[in-house]
């Protein structure tokens, strides 16, 4: 008999980056890296678990922007080209390291990984990884939840509930179109919750969302079971709080597993290490050095001296860390159960891209974790939030606190001196969008297309990623440009519509460039 539940939640998200106007584009490679290093390895893990009849449950948010990119023919075709370049590079690496017994096996390892990735992507899933995740959902192992349409940070949109509602409506539509069913739950972007947003979620048929720890702990009234049971908002929508202890063991740079000295070093990539002329054909268009994904060293220690990566030693560490995680969770739930008098739920949410992209061994850790949970113990059971609610429908009613999982737990990452200028423009554009939706209700033809494109541009401008990148500095110019571009495009379309003088070539060009949400209906902005 289990003494508690574990709910692993992976938040898979990338902003919508698609530049048909450039042959190769640096920021587009975020998607290609994530496919090779995170999504395909996770698919391989889930496939293996199902093949070996391991019963497991995992929840993933696949954001509407990510789903849109995974199903975009241009990006799919470009990804294959990207993989082909990596296959060629890894082949060259096998040759270059032929006299080096430490590095050549690593070059072969990467070569095989790229070949396997290509086979899985092209032959098995016909270039559409959304269908892979859908298949795990249909097998009952993976619960796929949604996110706001473009990952807009909702607490800073609160003053315009129509704008928040549109983010949720476009998300639900996209999720259903691509994955075949409406989502039961949502990952609020950045876990950004404000009291009242749950009412909008309820209207759109969403039953639960995930909050950071203090969102629940600071709720009113005080939550009786802390974060070890979900709560209901007054709307009846359930909120699940992040467990700090299990989060820290994976997240923390100092105490977390990914920092182990035997794990692969992320920051030593041949894109930076090898001679420029040799590596140049595999860098992006502007020729600046960047990560290729081929990394030969292990973390080794805090200094600059690095030892070659040893996959067998890393694998041993993964097994130890999976066992350690389970041991700690068992002790945790046994202790909490004795205090609560019922089975606690431990919710462990992570960024999906941590697994594989940053923490190379992360997918293997998940593999070992689920196998050990299935075979080696009876204290813990993996569960999805929706299954938990079905089994434990009676929960406390509270009003959670405004919160996020960003630095310091509130809105400062998305509202500070580096990015506060955007809100004046985002709010104005949302106001114009809402007014236009009302004024042109039931529009047809060119007017309708213009209004739909205005909605796309506004949603794209609202991505929290741009404000986040402006704050963190790297790629800051790109984030500023994306925000301004979408706002500028929105304003042009709005002005054309107002003057009743629609520039058809301009509209067509924007429809083709910013082609997200093909089923957009601007009337999502009507309350």
């Amino acid at each position: 008999m289990e003494k508690g539940y574990l709910s692993i939640i992976l938040h898979a998200h990338l902003p919508y980056v698609r530049h048909p106007e450039h042959e190769r584009f640096l920021e587009e490679e975020w998607l290609y890296e994530a496919i090779t290093e995170t999504y395909i390895p996770l698919i391989k893990v889930f496939d293996g678990l199902i093949r070996d009849r391991i019963d497991f449950r995992i929840t993933m948010s696949l954001t509407p922007t990510l789903l849109s990119m995974l199903t975009d023919p241009l990006l799919q075709m470009r990804y294959v080209r990207h993989l082909d370049r990596l296959i060629e590079l890894s082949n060259k690496e096998i040759d270059r390291t032929r006299h080096d017994s430490k590095f050549q096996p690593l070059a072969r390892m990467y070569h095989e990984l790229f070949i396997e990735a290509r086979d899985l992507f092209v032959n098995r899933y016909q270039q559409n990884l959304a269908s892979a995740f859908r298949q795990f959902q249909e097998a009952g192992k993976l619960e796929i939840i949604t996110c706001a349409a473009t990952h807009g940070f909702l607490p800073l949109m609160e003053i315009q509930s129509e704008a928040v509602r549109a983010q949720i409506r476009a998300a639900v539509q996209t999720h259903e179109r691509i994955l075949g069913r409406r989502p039961a739950g949502i990952w609020l972007p950045e876990c950004g919750y404000y009291p009242g947003v749950d009412e909008i979620l309820k209207e759109e048929g969403i039953r639960f969302f995930i909050l950071d720890t203090h969102g629940i702990l600071f709720a009113t009234p005080r939550p009786k079971y802390g974060n070890f049971a979900p709560v209901y908002c007054r709307s009846g929508v359930a909120a699940f709080g992040r467990d700090m202890e299990s989060s820290k063991s994976v997240w923390s740079a100092n105490e977390g597993y990914p920092g182990d000295f035997y794990y692969r070093e992320f920051y030593r990539d041949i894109g930076f290490d090898l001679a420029y002329d040799y590596i140049r054909p595999y860098l992006t268009g502007d020729g600046s050095r960047t990560n290729t994904g081929i990394k030969y060293y292990r973390i080794t220690g805090s200094g600059d001296g690095k030892e070659p990566y040893d996959p067998a030693a890393a694998r041993d560490k993964v097994a130890q860390h999976a066992a350690n995680f389970i041991f700690n969770r068992e002790k945790q739930v046994e202790h909490v159960q004795s205090l609560m008098g019922q089975e606690p739920l431990v919710v462990s949410p992570y960024d999906a891209e941590l697994f594989g992209h940053w923490w190379f061994e992360g997918p293997l850790w998940l593999d070992f974790l689920f196998r050990k949970l299935h075979q080696d113990q009876t204290v813990l059971k993996t569960i999805t939030p929706v299954e938990y609610l079905e089994q434990h429908p009676r929960n406390q009613v509270v009003t959670p606190s405004l919160s996020s999982w960003g630095y310091n737990g509130y809105a400062e990452v998305w509202l500070n001196r580096s990015n506060d200028w955007i809100y004046r423009h985002l709010h104005k554009a949302a106001e114009r969008m809402i007014e236009s939706a009302r004024h042109f209700q039931g529009a047809e033809g060119l007017e309708r297309r213009t209004l739909n494109q205005m909605a796309r541009e506004l949603l794209l401008a609202q991505s929290s990623d741009w404000a986040f990148i402006m704050k963190t500095g790297t790629h800051g110019a790109y984030a500023v440009k994306r925000t301004k571009d979408h706002l500028d495009r929105f304003t042009r379309l709005w002005a054309d519509l107002k003057k009743n003088c629609i520039d058809i070539p301009c509209l067509e060009s924007l429809e083709s460039t910013d082609n997200i949400f093909p089923d957009m209906d601007y009337q999502i902005y009507l309350s």
Binding site: A219, T220, P221, S401, L402, R424, H427, D485, D488, T491
Partner: protein
């Protein structure tokens, strides 16, 4: 001669390297600019509105941005002069919106602004509290004339609630199932009686 020749050759070499670096550098920069044009369009600074928007940054800080048209400013200045008062400062008046009593007007503090400010971070220092801001002109005589008034914002909670009352809920469909199993749909009752009987109550 050899002794003099060598330095000349090496100087030439160095010069050639420098020249080559100089001549290559702009080419590389040009290529980057061509492929990745990060020049963004300029957005309007103002939209011709009279508005102030208040946002919560964290439990202690708010952020306000605003714009006021020359027309609105002129209108308020005329109002001030009509009352034979003298405008002194543009200020942000931050109200404690919790206090709805008659003495509400006393529950505020002012932030004096310079002429060019169009946004401000406001240190309210009070979690879980509602706030409203007015941008306005304060007169030498101490009167305040609002130019624009903001939305109300509540700073987020910081700390555990002192409300301990528990309330529990289960989804409606499950409640109806249990209700049926409990005999709630038994034949004796009229539908009206069932509706009366099943009026939601705390569980």
């Amino acid at each position: 001669m050899k002794k003099r020749g060598k330095p000349v050759r090496s100087i030439k070499k160095v010069l050639r390297r420098i020249r080559s670096k100089i001549s290559r550098k702009p080419l590389k920069i040009k290529e980057i600019e061509k492929r990745h044009d990060f020049s963004a369009p300029n957005l309007l600074e103002f939209y011709g509105d009279n508005r102030i928007v208040l946002l919560a940054k964290d439990p202690w800080w708010l952020f306000a941005y605003w714009e006021v048209t020359a027309g609105r400013r002129k209108e308020v200045l005329e109002m001030i002069r009509d009352q034979r008062l003298s405008p002194e400062k543009t200020v942000l008046r931050v109200y404690d919106a919790m206090d709805t009593s008659f003495s509400r007007r006393l529950s505020f503090f002012d932030i004096e602004l310079n002429f060019i400010a169009t946004n401000w971070y406001i240190d309210v220092g009070f979690p879980n509290h509602p706030w409203v801001v007015e941008l306005g002109i304060r007169t030498r005589e101490g009167f305040f004339f609002a130019l624009v008034k903001s939305n109300t914002v509540r700073t987020p909670r910081f700390g555990v609630s002192d409300v301990l009352d528990e309330e529990w809920m289960m989804p409606d469909d499950l409640f109806w199932k249990l209700f049926g199993l409990s005999g709630g749909f038994a034949g004796q009752k009229s539908s009206l009686a069932v509706v009366e009987f099943t009026t939601p109550a705390p569980l």
